[in-house]
């Protein structure tokens, strides 16, 4: 049964007030709902150097009620593998190992260790919270940054390349469960993490996590910005269960009713796109349309 009301979500909060994340943080909202879908005490989180490290607080205080094992930037997939192996070897059963890494730690420096873990079919969930750049270190370009975005390492020309298609890379590893999510659609996200928890093998969930300081929009607009991304087709909500592709939540609704929002609608509230050229805007719209049409086609093929 899909979650349709906030009353259906567990009331327990696993993240207490006083995190060090920024106001309006997309990761924070993501993590809050993901942890509600997991068992307190039986969840071990692997975290690379990232916004997540900061969210977890500065020693000796943490606001998060899980076992969190921090690891070097490139090592998340390997650290999670070691946690799973160590738990098995020492007879600690019933734990869910969840890696939480940003796009830099996933698309870029962590891709090798992630690919290794997925290829070995390690029994864990990998969540990539994609805020489209190195936001913790000051908004530098990553391979997840979109075309036309100004970052602190693409300060004048803005980014000249499209975002990497990480899902296709992950899918090439033949996983039993892959999903995307958004903090703006918490029920969808909650249901996906809950489902993933009971799947055996490597599971991958990618969350589009808007970042007010990194993208340049007011803190209060986090949920709105996340929704706009879905409605414009920049990011789509779907899941791939044993290869079967299905759009979900708002993306499924748009698939049936048609898209009303454009890339221009999405970028106008974000200062990172202040330098985008008309040519790049057109390219970004084309890229988005092509990708959306591929997803639509795949959805209706798998769900006739």
């Amino acid at each position: 049964m899909a979650t349709i009301s906030v009353k259906q979500l567990p009331k327990t909060e696993h993240i207490l007030p006083g995190t060090r994340s920024c106001a309006g943080c997309g990761l924070m909202l993501t993590y809050r709902h993901a942890l509600k879908a997991l068992d307190e005490g039986k969840t071990i989180v692997a975290v690379p150097a990232s916004c997540m490290t900061v969210l977890h607080g500065v020693y000796p205080i943490t606001p998060v009620k899980v076992v969190c094992i921090n690891n070097p930037f490139a090592a998340t997939g390997a650290a999670a593998s070691g946690i799973v192996a160590g738990l098995n070897a020492t007879g600690k059963t019933g734990y869910t190992v969840v890696a939480f890494a940003g796009d830099g730690g996933t698309y870029d420096i962590g891709i090798q260790a992630l690919s290794g873990a997925l290829e070995r079919k390690v029994d864990f969930i990998y969540v990539c919270y994609d805020n489209e750049g190195y936001m913790n270190t000051g908004t530098q370009r990553s391979s997840a940054s979109p075309l036309g975005a100004v970052t602190s390492t693409t300060p004048i020309l803005a980014k000249l390349q499209h975002k990497k298609d990480m899902i296709r890379i992950v899918e090439a590893h033949d996983l039993p469960y892959i999903a995307t999510g958004s903090p703006s659609f918490p029920f969808d996200l909650f249901d996906k993490v809950k489902f993933a928890k009971n799947v055996k093998g490597s599971r991958y969930i990618e969350v589009h996590a808007p970042c007010p300081p990194g993208w340049g929009f007011p803190n209060k607009d986090l949920v709105k910005m996340g929704k706009l991304a879905i409605e414009a087709g920049i990011h789509a909500l779907f899941e791939i269960k044993e290869g079967r592709f299905s759009l979900t939540s708002r993306s499924l609704a748009i698939a049936k009713k048609g898209r009303k929002k454009t890339v221009a609608d999405y970028i106008k509230g974000q200062t990172r796109f202040r330098k985008i050229s008309p040519d790049h805007l057109a390219q970004l719209q084309d890229f988005t349309d092509k990708r959306w049409n591929e997803l639509l086609e795949r959805h209706f093929k798998d769900n006739p």
Partner: protein, 395 residues
């Protein structure tokens, strides 16, 4: 009772890991370490060793995964060489900072570029400042015994240990090794006490962000800052010299042999001149010392088994009063000298009477080093010429 087997140092290391009942093995293949990983894989697949084996995609991941497995309470093992060890460099610091009692076999090999697969000790010596204990072995028996001792030491002081041995010279050379029984090893090495704290209830943030200064926790108790944690590592690795010696002594009680703690000496009782070295090269120095003795020179050898923590007082004690001391080593700190000579020379400032010191860099990238070359070089140094040079560099 043990059983004599004709085996290589690589097999000795793998057998030792098995006898220590390691629970998680994670490794990436690199020559000349590969047989260690292959033999452990076979033990795990055949069921002879009950362990998780991770065939990771890199050395960085090999060490990252054993650190994490160790943090959740498992006894772990890995092995590497040369560029693989260099690729682990970030994780070496992380492992020591994590206080993970990892044991790693390091099969010494020269580092690229240009590529060499042959022996020298540049790989491990370059990692001396990472907070690991480093043991250098003379022969395959010492490799086997040192791996067993290393778990005992590492788990007492919560500091990871590299057991270093020379590539090919030891790693691929079969010699008789007394392989102890499981019962003997079990008597020496108790099961790993689970200090992970993972109990299905307690929340923890392991290796979080930390500030420089101490800071109160939620109950108002002041907890250490970054510098205090690093100071503890330094104090504990310095203190581990005693643990290393004690473990070696207890090893003698159970197995009937030991490895002289941190340094060993050969014909030093009446020596006037000393040769100092590490690993199999130090064994070779004993042959050179014998031949120089035949020529009437009173030469002895000091072998450094523990390079970190540095056994400064033992070295000073052994070398005080020598007329000359000559270092031989298969590494160099580019822009200065051999690292062992540098460290020992600094320690010998405290000698009551300071010997004339010379040092040689030898045998890089597998260049053969013969006892007669060592003897000739030592002889020159006994004539009083203090020098730093490379042996056998051909024009």
């Amino acid at each position: 009772m043990g059983e004599i087997q004709i085996i290589t140092a690589n097999t000795a290391a793998a057998l030792a890991a098995k006898l220590c009942r390691v629970q998680v093995v994670s490794a990436y293949p690199i020559t000349p370490q590969t047989p260690v990983t292959e033999e452990l894989a076979e033990m795990v697949e055949s069921g002879a060793l009950k362990a998780e084996y991770l065939t990771v995609e890199s050395e960085h991941s090999a060490l990252a995964s054993v650190v994490a497995a160790s943090q959740v309470g498992a006894r772990v093992f890995t092995a590497t060489s040369a560029n693989g060890l260099l690729y682990m460099h970030e994780m070496l610091h992380w492992a020591a900072g994590s206080r993970a009692p990892i044991v790693m076999a390091c099969v010494n090999r020269g580092v690229g570029a240009p590529w060499t697969i042959l022996n020298d000790q540049q790989d491990t010596v370059s990692q001396r400042d990472t907070g690991w204990i480093q043991l250098y072995c003379r022969n395959s028996q010492e490799v086997l015994d040192s791996v067993i001792q290393a778990y005992r030491i590492a788990e007492q002081v919560q500091i990871p240990i590299m057991v270093c041995y020379d590539g090919f010279i030891l790693s691929h050379t079969s010699t008789p090794v007394d392989v102890p029984s499981q019962e003997e090893v079990d008597r020496f090495l108790p099961p790993l006490e689970d200090r992970s704290g993972i109990d299905g209830q307690t929340a923890m943030n392991i290796n979080p962000l930390i500030l420089s200064d101490p800071r109160p926790n939620a109950n108002g108790v002041v907890m250490p800052g970054y510098m205090e944690f690093r100071y503890r590592l330094q104090q504990d690795i310095l203190g581990s010299l005693d643990t290393i010696k004690a473990a070696d002594k207890e090893f003698l009680d159970i197995f009937g042999r030991n490895w002289d703690g941190s340094t060993w000496t050969y014909r030093m009782e009446d020596a006037e001149h000393a040769m100092v070295s590490m690993g199999s090269l130090a064994s070779e120095c004993t042959l050179a010392a014998d031949s120089l003795r035949e020529e009437g020179l009173k030469v002895g050898v000091v072998g450094v088994r523990v390079y970190r923590p540095f056994p400064a007082s033992e070295i000073v004690e052994s070398l005080s009063g020598m007329k000359t001391v000559t270092f031989f080593e298969k590494d160099v700190s580019y822009g200065y000298q051999g690292a062992l000579a540098m460290d020992a020379r600094a320690a010998m400032y405290d000698c009551s009477s300071r010997p004339a010191i010379s040092s040689y860099v030898v045998g890089l990238g597998g260049r053969d080093v013969r006892p007669d070359q060592l003897a000739k070089a030592t002889l020159e140094c006994t004539k009083g010429a203090t020098k730093f040079c490379w042996l056998d560099v051909r024009s």
